[in-house]
């Protein structure tokens, strides 16, 4: 039996076709928008139909260099980034150490405290804290005044933003450090103890040096996430006139007359800063694998804290109260009060002042129902579309020998360095010029979100695929299954729950996203975060708080469902 496999030309086509198609797709999602942004930043007119044809100029970069507000924005970004990261690292590392390596009481509460703020949208966090810490009518100031303490809390400041970022970005530090600590082979520490080290010295000389690369990696990641964050700095920065780079880019776009080319140049600058930092982080993490990761789960050693046990417990509980309890108290107050005016501390518990009107009236508020509908459609489409795209990409990269597959992976990971606002701007410039009427539809949001969350989605699915030993698929082929049949009968059942959990992650991330959509929405395609932002700008605090509560409840339900899936995927995708 002879099995000729076609002419050389068709074989070459078959080899190149899947990679080429995927590459074209990813190029349109990532490279073209970034390219359009770069292009716009060198033109003197915005690249949109109806505008005069722009000519080449370096003026915007000169303006960035000389503009006082830009330099101030860079300075604020760095200050807030460093301060917020430092605070987040302190909280996250301490919680990680308490939760994995000590006999702190209520360990599961500590571990819960480490991750739970991750599932709260930073927009909701910022809105809630503006209710608490506004210098004029913030609840905290009402309380301080009632207690006769001559202090004013002002959340609309650099310090205020550092505080809010520190609270809501601590989970990233927690995740990195906790995983490094629990993957570390305890024999490394036991060996040091056997050879005469005291517990304190083993911690200082062995444990902490081993997690330094992971900690540094978390530091840079957190810093990058903070300096590209738009919702928090917009909500907490603009009332007090404290501007960071994303807020500056946004102001350039919405000021009249708008300066879109200068905004593009500023976006490019922010992106370059992120490229440098992420490259540095990747180097660090490459080293980390070599040092501590053993691949096996160990039962970690736990240090006896003695009388400090309850101090550790109090720290974790205090963090939960400040990061979750206080904001929800504030949102509940604002949502249920008939009047936002509070005359004294007694008003917080005066039940006669409360009603559910602002929540029940949401039913009759069309922007809310439309926003909710849009959010769910966009989230679901992003999850399905992203899931399929990342599955195809990851399978091509890790399970075929197709040429150019490494380039695919590189492009898929590229958005790590692209600020969300820049993705929004890039999509705007791209789809205003491509003669496909995508602008103004929900689909453009789906594509922008897919690009924005590509690294998370791709990494989620590729790590699931990597957990399935290649032998499992090859032995199916040896047993007589075709390539496609082996994938369907063996690979897909083994990674199914991993794919579901990644899709759910994409859904949740899409539901929270404000930055990538702020330049792309139209009145018909507003999503919930936009609706929420509108309530805040128009001063409808009661409705804002009511929407925030419902929105958070929705995210919470999804997250709980997600954790169930995440747990399952870990169990079923193991290999013998």
């Amino acid at each position: 039996m002879l099995m000729p496999t076609g002419t050389a030309a068709t074989r070459r086509l078959r080899r190149w076709l899947p990679v080429s198609l995927l590459l074209i797709f990813l190029t349109f999602l990532v490279i073209v928008p970034v390219g359009m942004l770069v292009y716009a930043s060198f033109l003197d007119a915005p690249p949109r139909p109806g505008s005069p044809r722009g000519t080449f100029t370096l003026e915007h970069f000169r303006a960035l260099y000389t503009s006082r507000s830009n330099l101030l924005a860079i300075r604020n970004s760095l200050l807030i980034g460093l301060g917020g990261t430092a605070m987040a690292m302190f909280i996250g590392t301490l919680l990680a150490w308490l939760g994995t390596r000590t006999d702190v009481p209520g360990r599961s509460m500590v571990q819960f405290a480490g991750i739970v703020p991750l599932f709260m949208s930073s927009l909701v966090g910022a809105l809630a804290w503006s209710l608490v810490g506004s210098p004029r009518a913030g609840y905290a100031n009402t309380v301080l005044e009632a207690l006769g303490i001559p202090l004013t809390v002002n959340i609309y400041s650099v310090g205020g933003m550092v505080f809010v970022f520190g609270l809501y970005y601590a989970p990233y530090a927690y995740l990195f450090v906790a995983s490094a600590l629990s993957l570390m082979n305890p024999e490394l520490e036991e060996a040091a103890e056997v050879h005469g080290g005291s517990i304190a010295r083993v911690m200082r000389r062995i444990t902490f040096p081993l997690v330094v690369p992971a900690t540094m990696g978390a530091f840079i990641l957190t810093f990058v996430l903070i300096i590209e964050n738009f919702p928090v700095v917009q909500v907490l920065g603009s009332p007090g006139g404290v501007e960071t780079m994303p807020a500056y880019i946004f102001r350039l776009m919405i000021s009249a007359p708008s300066r879109p080319n200068e905004a593009s140049a500023a976006g490019l600058l922010l992106m370059l800063i992120m490229v440098v930092l992420v490259t540095f982080q990747a180097r660090l993490l490459a080293k980390r694998e070599y040092v501590t990761v053993t691949g096996k789960g160990f039962r970690p050693r736990r240090i006896k804290l003695g009388r400090w046990r309850w101090a550790g417990f109090a720290f974790a509980l205090g963090y939960l109260v400040v990061a979750v309890g206080v904001p929800f108290f504030a949102l509940t107050q604002a949502a249920l009060r008939r009047s936002q005016f509070i005359s004294g501390i007694g008003d917080f518990v005066d039940l006669s002042a409360f009603s559910f009107r602002s929540i029940t009236s949401l039913v009759d508020y069309p922007p809310f129902s439309l926003g909710l509908r849009n959010t769910i459609i966009v989230g679901a489409l992003t999850a399905v579309f992203g899931g399929a795209l990342h599955l195809l990409t990851a399978y091509t990269v890790y399970r075929t020998n197709a040429p150019g597959r490494k380039v695919l992976e590189y492009v898929a990971m590229l958005p790590v360095t692209v600020p969300a606002l820049v993705i929004g701007l890039g999509f705007l410039w791209t789809w205003l010029n491509v003669p496909i009427p995508l602008y103004g539809t929900l689909l453009i949001l789906v594509l922008a979100y897919t690009a924005r969350f590509m690294p998370q989605g791709y990494r989620g699915i590729s790590s699931t695929i990597l957990q399935v030993h290649k032998d499992l698929e090859e032995s199916a082929q040896v047993s007589g299954a075709s390539r496609a049949r082996a994938a369907v009968t063996v690979v897909v059942p083994l990674i199914r729950s991993g794919i579901f959990s990644t899709m759910l992650l994409l859904f949740i991330l899409s539901m929270r996203e404000l930055s990538a959509s702020i330049f792309l929405f139209t009145s018909d395609t507003r999503v919930l975060p936009i609706v929420l932002y509108d309530q805040w700008t128009s001063g409808s605090y009661s409705r804002m708080a009511a929407i925030s509560l419902l929105y958070s409840a929705l995210l919470c339900v999804l997250t709980v469902a997600g954790r169930k899936y995440l747990g399952e995927s870990g169990a079923s995708a193991k290999t013998p």
């Binding site: 039996m1 002879l2 099995m3 000729p4 496999t5 050389a8 030993h469 032998d471 499992l472 090859e474 032995s475 199916a476 082929q477 040896v478 047993s479 007589g480 299954a481 075709s482 390539r483 049949r485 082996a486 009968t489 063996v490 059942p493 083994l494 079923s572 193991k574 290999t575 013998p576």
Partner: protein, 362 residues
């Protein structure tokens, strides 16, 4: 010839994993590919099953050409009808034992599957590997030895033309390994199936094979039956790999009667051998541990030396010694029988018959 591999070459970038390799395997034969890691043995096997595409060469199985680089023939893996046991066993954790074993039968074309009693076939295969009655168990709950048996059942249930085994015993503990090695050979012989077995363990290779091919850097350096391989290795590399522990570099310095005299490079000790080699030739002297006679009667004979017993180790049915020859190298020796052996720290007279000493090209 049943399997004929000709001029097989497979490169990864600059590295030649398999380098112009040719080998013929007869029907019903068990051939072992033996060599250190990276010698190309696994790549050769993966080329035969079709999981790797060679750059050059032809592979013929029975009357079917499964690969020919010139005629651009490459039969897909799933149509080659070759059974394979993977090193990691590759038991699908989401299926039961029976589902795992039935898989190759279910993958057959509809017309080939007609009239096939899959359940009965699976039962037979599980019986053959000694796993009667575990078919309903989840595959992820099995022990290592059981997984190995399931993998074997799965690869023979399809009645393959060839059975490939990729270090199938390397993840098992020593006792189980010995037993399964025997069972594996028994099953292969009783089915009369042609098999290729990849390993880096020389004991496994000697115990299982009809013929052994020792590989190095993508080429076969020696191909012969196990006894000849052990008794007459072609080169120091093969002797070393097959487990001869006494290998010394030396130079032929002359002759004594009909014997050749070799002077060892490191210690200067002179050794006589019946093997004829020209004076001045650089050689490797090869002495098998069981050829070292311990506590020889004190008559004057060639290759008789006083030596100190450095380590004496009792292994049940034999002793192993490490003996430091006075003004000479350290020899590893073996003595059978359970009579009292030499004590560590004593002195012994050792002797090696000149016709047992082999000179190998360096």
């Amino acid at each position: 010839m049943f399997i004929r591999v000709s001029n097989l070459t497979k490169t990864y970038g600059e590295a030649r994993a398999v380098d112009d390799l040719s080998i013929d395997i007869s029907e019903g034969e068990m051939l072992v590919l033996l060599g250190p890691s990276g010698c190309g043995k696994t790549t050769t096997m993966r080329c035969i099953v079709g999981l790797e595409t060679p750059d050059i060469g032809t592979i013929q199985i029975g009357d079917m050409t499964v690969f020919d680089s010139q005629r651009q023939i490459s039969v897909p893996t799933n149509q080659r009808n070759i059974g394979m046991v993977f090193q990691s066993y590759a038991i699908w954790p989401h299926m039961t034992v029976a589902q795992n074993v039935a898989y190759p039968l279910r993958m057959r074309k509809r017309k080939d599957r007609a009239g096939l009693d899959i359940k009965q076939k699976v039962g037979e295969a599980l019986n053959l590997v000694g796993l009667t009655g575990v078919g309903d168990r989840g595959a992820s709950l099995l022990s290592g030895g059981q997984m190995q048996r399931v993998a074997l059942a799965r690869s023979i249930v399809m009645e393959p033309r060839v059975l490939l085994l990729d270090e199938p015993l390397s993840n098992l503990d020593a006792k189980l390994r010995d037993r399964l090695r025997f069972e594996l050979r028994d099953i292969q012989l009783s089915l009369g199936i042609t098999a290729i077995y990849v390993t880096h363990d020389q004991d496994e290779a000697l115990a299982l094979s009809d013929r052994i091919a020792v590989m190095r850097e993508g080429k076969i350096v020696q191909l012969t039956d196990p006894v000849t391989m052990y008794k007459q290795p072609d080169s120091a590399f093969v002797a070393d790999f097959i487990g001869t522990s006494n290998l010394f570099d030396g130079t032929v310095v002359g002759s004594s009667g009909s014997d050749t005299v070799v002077k060892l490079d490191d210690s200067g000790l002179e050794i006589q051998t019946t093997q004829q080699e020209p004076e001045g030739k650089q050689v490797t002297v090869c002495i098998r541990p069981e050829d070292v006679v311990i506590d020889a009667p004190a008559e004057d004979r060639p290759n008789m030396w006083k030596s100190a017993v450095r380590v004496s180790s009792f292994l049940g049915n034999h002793f192993r010694y490490s003996l430091a020859v006075h003004d000479g190298p350290t020899l590893f020796a073996m003595s059978h029988g359970s009579r009292a052996g030499l004590q560590t720290g004593t002195t012994a007279l050792v002797h090696i018959a000149p016709d047992r000493i082999q000179l190998l090209d360096r």
